[in-house]
Amino acid sequence: MNQYEVTFIVDPVLSGDEIKSTAQTYVDLISKEGTIVHTDEMGLRQLAYPIRKRTTGVYYCIEFQVPNGEMISKMELAFRRDERIMRFLTVRLDKFGIKFNDDRRNGLIGKKKSDKKEKDAPKETAKKAAPAKKAAHKPLPKSAPKAVQEVAAAAVSAAPVVPVTASKSEEE
């Protein structure tokens, strides 16, 4: 059973019901063949560049498991045929991706507050994510690696790495 993730963008000019029903058809299509782990409605977002003259889109992300990979191409064919879908991307998740998604759903990824998260999983995939709007029903428990990473990120981006000749460090 391989775990996959498909993210697609629905045309925003449709009515809200049409958008939901479009997404629902694909949810049903997938759940017929395999099991759905999670659906994420990322909602209306600004696109980084216009697609088909539209500047916003409704993003959906479906994570699912199928025993057989053949339905992926059928699903993608359906995406291509559907005019209401602007873009899609299917990704197969490796074990780290699966763990990352699980952790993010459980709120383990986010800003750090308490130190106890540090002991929990030294290998935990901590990331500076912005899932606040989507995920947390509860306030995000902070994980230590994340904040350290933030500090490191600030440090690294503020003072970019320059090998050896240090007297002139390029400001980024």
Binding site: G57, V91, F96, P122, T125, A126, A129
Partner: protein, 88 residues
């Protein structure tokens, strides 16, 4: 010729080498780069939207490649732009 003891510098000649570079993924145990997360990926692209080279970000090769594919996927999904200016 002045011996080495006589040479005095106004500032410590070792001053610039203190910053150790490291791969932040290795150091913090991050194994997966999410393409859906533009705020995280912004660290690895410059103001024009181009992926920053490894010698600037300090990433190891394995994670630099993951970051690059994540950025490219994000560009495909219009989460990040292909071409931009004043992105940050």
């Amino acid at each position: 010729m002045a011996s080495r003891d006589d040479i005095k510098f106004l500032s410590n000649p070792n001053i610039g080498s203190l910053r150790k570079k490291y791969c932040r993924f290795r150091k913090y145990g991050i194994r997966h780069v999410d393409y859906k997360d533009p705020d995280f990926l912004l660290q690895f692209i410059n103001e024009q939207g181009k992926v920053l080279p490894r010698r600037i970000t300090g990433n190891s090769l394995k994670y630099q490649r993951k970051v690059a594919t994540a950025v490219k996927r994000a560009r495909h999904l219009a989460i990040l732009p292909y071409v931009a200016d004043l992105l940050k």
